[in-house]
């Protein structure tokens, strides 16, 4: 079931379409590779498989090959964007007029909204008193658009960040300086302050690590090769509250189980939940097990893992459940220590009497009071995701710094190095955090330089619907140096202080790469993907 754990909002994703109660439907989906939006939502083929199974009473395996994936799943829309903006002579933005046409499909079952998203960044990234955003979703005789990692902002930032780069050239300003000039201290649309904003720090730490010093275009030459550097801002919306529940059970031997209704789409969410529970209960990480990926035995935790929000939506519920369990353990500890519960605290994994710190009970001593032998119930903590505190805004920021090499004779582009500074609040797991940023960036690199669905205009047939024709980046396309710099902010929108990291690195990659390419060759290419053919054509047109 793709990015869905199975049961949603009390309806039951599959039950809904088969008119079955949740009690009759069990969905097992522990791991799904390559979600990225196309596996979000229930599709016709899910229903067909479920119906076939019901009719035959046999298991049904549904398998889409590469060309079928292209044919029946959804895709990021092609867009045409136009940006016009007014600046004061010192580079201060006064107005943005944005127009976007997006390629929709032949029918609308709710997914035409993905065709022209006008990512939040147009209205919400820079301080600008006047913004108009006009969006057209255009029906075509092609398959439907859908969410694709960083929908909206990825398209918008490719245009907006190139636009800012051009403006910086116009004002003869450093691109970072122009962005700082228009930095939004408060959220431009709502005038609310942010819970946290690490954008300035992303610019600063990122540019320092990169060694940012931009020369005029075509300054760095070697034969037919040119090198250039570019940067771009990363922007993505944070998570607000929505219903999400988790359970934390503590067993007599002192081990902990988290129950969360999620599917792991490759981001390591179960690892993160275990860390959160371990931190709250002050137990070693390896004493925590996370049960997930099965609609039987887990509560409703998330409808689907989209929007870079599995951690920031479900994580707080896990922490609250662990905190609830901790409170119950303190009650038991108080009985063991023969003091009042208010006098007990859990510190470094040990229950300590505040008024007499010598009076202590170990974690296991307390959990050992539970169970059949001792005639005491197990501790089961319940947690839910609270709404974010009102009056503040949660947004995710970052900055990408890129160096590229372009062969002006062959049009080949190679990204040599990337410094990726990301403010995602508190990074909970350093390894998965870095992997997410690297992977997201690489996906953005693919979109910027290689990937496109090539459609035969006469028939609507995608002619490159295979692995070698549709060019995802290969190992040889990964830059030699990819440096991830976590910009840790203490975000108070939730009890885990994390904001989300899955989509922002994809959204930010393309603009920065295109800007570096401009700096290398002095010609701007505004059309994704920037293939050798487009580089050669642009160079020729420029003379």
């Amino acid at each position: 079931m793709g990015q869905h754990p199975g049961c949603t909002s009390g309806k039951g994703l599959t039950g809904l379409t088969l008119n079955l109660p949740i009690s009759k439907v069990r969905v097992i989906n522990r791991h799904t590779g390559g979600g990225f939006g196309s596996k979000n939502g229930i599709k016709q083929y899910h229903v067909i498989a479920a119906m076939l199974s019901r009719e035959t009473g046999r298991p049904v395996r549904l398998f889409l090959n590469r060309s079928e994936v292209f044919m029946v799943t959804t895709h990021r829309p092609r867009t045409r964007q136009k940006i016009k903006a007014g600046f004061k002579s010192d580079g201060t933005l006064t107005a943005i007029d944005y127009e976007e046409y997006g390629r929709g499909g032949a029918w609308n079952e709710g997914n035409m909204r993905w065709a022209s998203r006008a990512g939040d960044s147009i209205k919400e990234l820079y301080k600008c008193p006047n913004v108009r955003s006009t969006n057209y979703a255009v029906h075509t005789n092609l398959s439907s658009p859908g969410a694709c990692r960083g929908p909206g902002n990825t398209e918008t930032l490719f245009a907006l960040e190139q636009f800012f780069d051009e403006a910086a050239v116009h004002f003869n300003m450093d691109p970072i300086e122009l962005r700082l000039k228009n930095f939004a201290e408060i959220h431009p649309l709502t005038s609310q302050p942010y819970f946290s904003n690490g954008l300035k720090e992303s610019y600063e730490k990122g540019s320092n690590a990169f060694g940012w010093k931009r020369q005029k275009p075509e300054s760095v030459k070697d034969g037919t090769k040119r090198r250039g550097i570019g940067m771009g801002t990363v922007h993505w919306h944070g998570t607000s509250g929505e219903p999400s529940q988790a359970l934390v059970t503590v067993y007599p031997e002192g081990t902990v189980e988290v129950n969360a209704g999620i599917a792991d789409i490759g981001v390591g969410a179960p690892v993160i939940f275990a860390q959160i529970a371990a931190e709250e209960l002050q137990v070693p990480f390896d004493k925590v097990r996370v049960a997930y990926g099965d609609s039987a035995g887990t509560p409703y935790t998330i409808n689907s893992s989209y929007g870079s929000r599995t951690t920031s939506l479900a994580g707080p519920a896990v922490r609250m459940a662990a905190a609830d369990a901790k409170q119950q353990l303190i009650q038991i500890a108080a009985e063991v220590l023969k003091v009042s519960p208010a006098d007990v605290q859990l510190k470094d994994g040990v229950f300590i009497t505040k008024s007499d710190p010598a009076k202590q009970a170990s974690f296991k001593e307390v959990t050992g009071q539970m169970g059949w032998r001792k005639r005491r119930h197990l501790v089961i903590g319940k947690g839910k995701r609270l709404d974010n505190p009102k009056g503040r805004k949660v947004d995710i920021f970052g900055a990408h710094f890129i160096e590229v090499e372009v062969d002006t004779a062959t049009g080949s582009v190679r990204v040599l190095r990337a410094v990726l500074a990301h403010d995602s609040g508190r990074p909970i797991n350093a390894l998965t955090y870095e992997s997410q940023v690297q992977g997201g960036f690489l996906m953005g690199l693919g979109m910027a330089l290689f990937e496109e669905r090539i459609i035969d205009a006469e028939t609507g047939v995608q002619v490159n619907a295979d692995f070698h024709g549709y060019c995802c980046p290969t190992a040889l396309d990964v830059p030699d140096q990819v440096t991830v710099i976590p910009i840790e902010t203490h975000d108070l929108s939730t009890n885990i202080n994390a904001k989300g990291v899955g989509e922002p690195p994809t959204a930010g990659a393309g603009g920065a790469i295109a800007n570096a390419l401009y700096n290398a060759i002095g010609v701007r290419i505004r059309d994704y993907p920037i293939t050798p053919s487009k580089v050669l054509q642009a160079l020729k047109a420029a003379g």
Binding site: T224, A409, T410, G411, S412, R414, L449, F450, I454, I455, D456, A457, E458, T459, V461, V463, N464, D466, F467, H468, G469, C471, P473, T474, A475, L476, D477, T531, P532, S533, L536, Q537, K540
Partner: protein
């Protein structure tokens, strides 16, 4: 995929025997990396498949007095990894390395690489194109931005997918063919045929013939070769254009040169006009430009691939420079 009979041949003679009886119905299966895709897409539905993958006698790289002999079943990875091939027959090692991905090079053989069917996306897709018995080439008015011809296209505008073919033409290789009636050897440049000669096949092999060996003459003194390929991404991509050059120089003067192009015509193309511009000349930027211009003279780009003219010229220049 339609069902078929599979024979695991163990000798060249056995293959000949089978082909003598059932040549029309049979296909030779070497590494299978191309044939399998043809079968899966139901573009080819042979009744019989004869695997030569287990014929050990076809797997070798032997350096002899007259040059190097390479068995047709030698996989590309072995050519890439050979200790001396890369120094004496550089263009071939580079071309083999430019093929596909490590997985494909581990499976794909040099013989099979030369016998690939077209990779034109109309040929491979749900289109009854002229090469599949239809009456039109859909690329002419369709999507021809990457993998279609600027040279030698008539009726069909696909480009031959083989990288190693381009290098072997520049290296003046012979292709040794086993046949039921007789064995024969042809120059690599004469092995391939364009659509004007026969629109249904890409080389001269008859149904009862197959490649057994590639022979490359030993290079003269002061001879170097190179292969260059431009593609969209770093690996697992067919050429937008490629060029292979072998040249012999003395005191900066070109004594002999062979220039071949890939990714620009329905067959890998030797361009003698460009060679003549180089031979006997001191290689200056003017001479390079002349060779590049001549290599693509007469080009008739399609609606979206005019850039390939400049790209091909640039590759010729770079390749010549790399060998002098």
């Amino acid at each position: 995929m339609q069902s078929f009979k599979w024979i695991n041949a163990t000798s060249v003679d056995e293959v000949k025997e089978i082909l003598a009886q059932q040549g029309d119905k049979a296909r030779i299966f070497a590494g299978g990396s191309d044939l399998m895709t043809m079968l899966k897409e139901r573009l080819d539905m042979p009744e019989l498949i004869v695997s030569i993958g287990n014929i050990k006698a076809l797997k070798y790289i032997r350096e002899e007095k007259d040059g190097v002999h390479i068995g047709a079943m030698t996989v590309l990875a072995d050519i890439v990894g050979h200790p001396t091939l890369g120094q004496k027959y550089t263009a071939l090692a580079q071309a083999a390395e430019a093929v596909g991905s490590p997985q494909l090079r581990n499976m794909g053989s040099i013989g099979g690489n030369l016998c690939q069917r077209p990779r034109c996306w109309y040929f491979r897709g749900p289109f009854i194109c002229i090469r599949k018995g239809g009456d039109t080439c859909f690329a002419v008015n369709g999507e021809n931005r990457y993998y279609h011809a600027i040279l030698e296209g008539t009726d069909c505008f696909m480009v031959h997918p083989s990288d190693t073919a381009v290098a072997l033409i520049a290296l003046d290789a012979d292709i040794i063919i086993a046949g039921v009636k007789k064995d024969r050897a042809v120059k690599a440049e004469n092995f391939f045929i364009g659509p004007s000669e026969d629109i249904e096949k890409e080389n001269i092999l008859e149904p009862d013939e197959f490649i057994t060996e590639i022979r490359i003459p030993a290079p003269e003194i002061n001879t170097r070769s190179t292969f260059l390929k431009t593609r969209i991404r770093g690996a697992w991509n067919f050429a937008l254009a490629s060029a292979a050059v072998r040249s012999t120089s003395k005191n900066g003067v070109c004594q002999d040169a062979r220039v071949a192009l890939g990714g620009v015509a329905p067959l890998p193309l030797r361009v003698k006009k460009a060679e003549r511009a180089l031979i006997g000349k001191k290689i200056t930027s003017d001479i390079l430009q002349q060779a590049a211009d001549l290599a693509t003279s007469g080009a008739q780009p399609l609606t979206m691939n005019r850039y390939k003219v400049d790209l091909t010229g640039a590759l010729v220049k770079k390749a010549v420079l790399a060998t002098v």
